[in-house]
């Protein structure tokens, strides 16, 4: 599903060259449940953004579902993001002016889909995260855990094969965090490839496979 070969990403900060990714080689198959672990500044976020096609690698090749993403244009990348990947962010990244329903509906608006089909899919996704009775609430009327569940519903509404979660429990109390983890693990059991980026060993332990990142390199690949 995900195949990275010799991927590099450099930032220059003043005179200093920061190697956010330095010759990264990763291969993740379908239906895997992988945790990418590392302290902050290790380059794990850059890795995640590159996997998610939010950012472009400077060097190397990245095949997502067999296609070389490094050769794609902006519009093609947008297509890939919507079809292949569902994002869950630490800060939820919901739009405050919209209800839960509208937030989940948003990815569908950028596809060609009639409104009845959209409604059916949004309600299905919200049911999946147990929030269908709160779909007309705005984010500020929801708790952190509920907001993150809305974000997960938004990530899975287009049924992408890969779910990318960047510190999904980072802004939540432990009980809501546990709920979110169970949701994500449920998605894995239903057949999704789930990648979780975290600095927490506890969360990493739950995954089937752990990729440890430090200084832009994958230092450990443990099952």
């Amino acid at each position: 599903m995900i195949d990275m070969q010799h991927v590099c990403k450099y930032y220059s900060m003043g005179d200093e060259l920061i190697k956010a990714m330095d010759d990264v080689n990763i291969s993740i198959k379908e239906h895997e449940y992988v945790a990418i672990v590392g302290p902050s500044g290790s380059g794990k976020s850059t890795l995640m953004h590159t996997i998610g096609c939010l950012d472009m690698a400077d060097k190397g090749q990245y095949f997502l579902d067999g296609m070389d993403v490094t050769l794609c244009t902006g519009g093609e990348l947008a297509n890939i993001r919507s079809k292949k990947i569902g994002f869950v962010f630490q800060q939820f990244y919901l739009l405050p002016q919209m209800t839960a329903f509208e937030n989940v509906e948003m990815p569908l608006l950028y596809q060609h889909m009639n409104s009845r089909e959209r409604k059916r899919r949004v309600i299905e996704a919200l049911k999946c995260v147990g929030l269908e009775e709160r779909m007309h609430h705005r984010p500020d009327q929801l708790s952190g855990g509920q907001q993150q569940r809305v974000a997960i519903a938004r990530a899975l509404v287009l049924r992408p094969p890969v779910i990318l979660a960047d510190e999904p429990t980072g802004n939540l109390d432990s009980r809501s965090g546990e709920e979110i983890m169970e949701l994500l693990e449920g998605l894995h059991e239903q057949g999704s490839t789930v990648l979780i980026i975290t600095h927490s060993e506890q969360i990493a332990e739950r995954a089937d496979r752990r990729l440890r990142v430090s200084d832009g390199r994958v230092t450990e690949d443990a099952v």
Binding site: L54, G75, A78, R81, K83, Y110, Q111
Partner: protein, 385 residues
């Protein structure tokens, strides 16, 4: 498309204060442009109308030298009767007019029967001065609506009397309203028979003639004939003057256009300032919403989606503001017309232009920052604080 419009309205409503402030700039700009230009055009229209009502085929002869006398018959000798419709002598003078208790100084004009035809004025009730009035030097007068309003507070004045220089005059006619012009009100007049005026003012010499040309083609010939005649009669170029009404009309038109242009210019500046306001708010809005753009891109929005969204929002915002501005100026013009009691109509061409300008400004200034933001890598837009 429907979804984009819905989204635009939601975003505008979500930030009511900011949307209102953005629109305020457009509202003020559009209102100012439409109102100032409409008022300018209305004013110039009323001036040209009142001049045109005198007739574009009208020539005015003024005898400016007191020592010179030119009689109507002397003038007639020089002009072929086919070229003119009539010559109306006018004797102007200042007199005291008494009505009941108050005494005021007013100007009167001594005229003959053909003044009505030559000058193009008519009575709305009663009758005009007649040749028999002139012959018998009767004490009758025809008054304008302003005089009627001032003295009697009603237009029902036929048969009533006023006292001019201690003589009692019967009002026999009330003139049609002619409206005010730059020269003052055309309705503040008292017309008496020419012979009566000579007695009242103690002068024998007519100082002004209105000469109506037979048609507008012959007016220039009549004008040159008059100039030659007057020179031969007076032998002094400075003793008389001949005005052509259409010349006056042209001059007035020029002046009005200048005024309209100036008002329009001032208003355009305020529209421009409004436009800069839109640009400023749009820049802030888009910068503020860079993260939103990032989120939208992360979940699959393409560049054109982002651009389209901001385009629709800018359009809705500026069109809405512009329409409010048009509405306000309609209201303002009604109010102005009511206060100044002049007929005034909105200039729809200017309204359309102002609306178009503010939409173009809103869209241009909204699209520029949106385009910049839509080009960002999604991750850079997301990281934006």
């Amino acid at each position: 498309m429907k979804a984009a419009l819905k989204m635009a309205f939601r975003n505008i409503l979500f930030n009511k204060m900011r949307s209102f402030l953005t629109m305020l700039g457009i509202i003020i700009g559009v209102t100012a442009v439409i109102m100032l230009v409409s008022i300018g055009q209305g004013a110039s229209k009323s001036i040209t109308d009142s001049i045109a009502s005198m007739g574009a085929d009208l020539l005015t002869v003024n005898i400016t030298d007191d020592d010179v006398t030119v009689t109507e018959d002397e003038l007639r000798n020089y002009i072929n009767g086919d070229l003119i419709r009539g010559i109306a002598p006018v004797l102007s003078g200042s007199v005291t007019v008494k009505d009941g208790t108050s005494t005021t100084s007013k100007s009167i004009q001594g005229v003959t029967e053909n003044y009505a035809d030559v000058y193009g004025s008519d009575v709305q009730s009663g009758r005009f001065i007649m040749d028999s009035d002139v012959e018998y030097r009767t004490n009758v007068c025809v008054i304008g609506t302003d005089v009627a309003g001032d003295m009697f507070e009603s237009y029902d004045v036929i048969g009533k009397t006023i006292t001019i220089e201690d003589s009692v005059f019967t009002i026999v006619g009330l003139l049609e309203e002619s409206g005010s012009s730059m020269y003052g009100s055309g309705d503040d007049v008292i017309l008496v028979p020419l012979s009566t005026a000579k007695r009242l003012t103690g002068t024998m010499d007519v100082t002004q003639y209105y000469v109506a040309a037979a048609d507008s083609q012959s007016i220039q010939r009549v004008e040159s004939i008059l100039n030659i005649a007057l020179y031969q009669l007076t032998r002094d170029e400075d003793a008389y003057s001949v005005y052509n009404q259409s010349q006056v009309l042209d001059t007035m038109d020029d002046a009005d256009n200048t005024v309209s242009l100036m008002l329009g210019g001032i208003a355009s500046i305020s529209l421009l300032v409004g436009g800069i306001g839109i640009m400023n708010i749009m820049l802030v809005t888009v910068t503020e919403r860079t993260r939103e753009i990032g989120i939208r891109k992360a979940i699959g929005a393409k560049r054109r989606h982002i651009l389209f969204q901001f385009l629709v929002e800018a359009c809705v915002l500026s069109l809405f503001g512009g329409l409010i501005g048009v509405g306000l100026s309609l209201l303002g013009i009604e109010l102005y017309a009511l206060i100044s009691s002049t007929a005034m109509t909105i200039s729809w061409s200017v309204a359309t232009a102002a609306l178009a300008v503010c939409v173009v400004l809103g869209v241009a200034f909204g699209i520029y920052p949106a385009n910049k933001a839509s080009k960002l890598l999604p991750i850079d837009a997301l990281r934006h604080i």
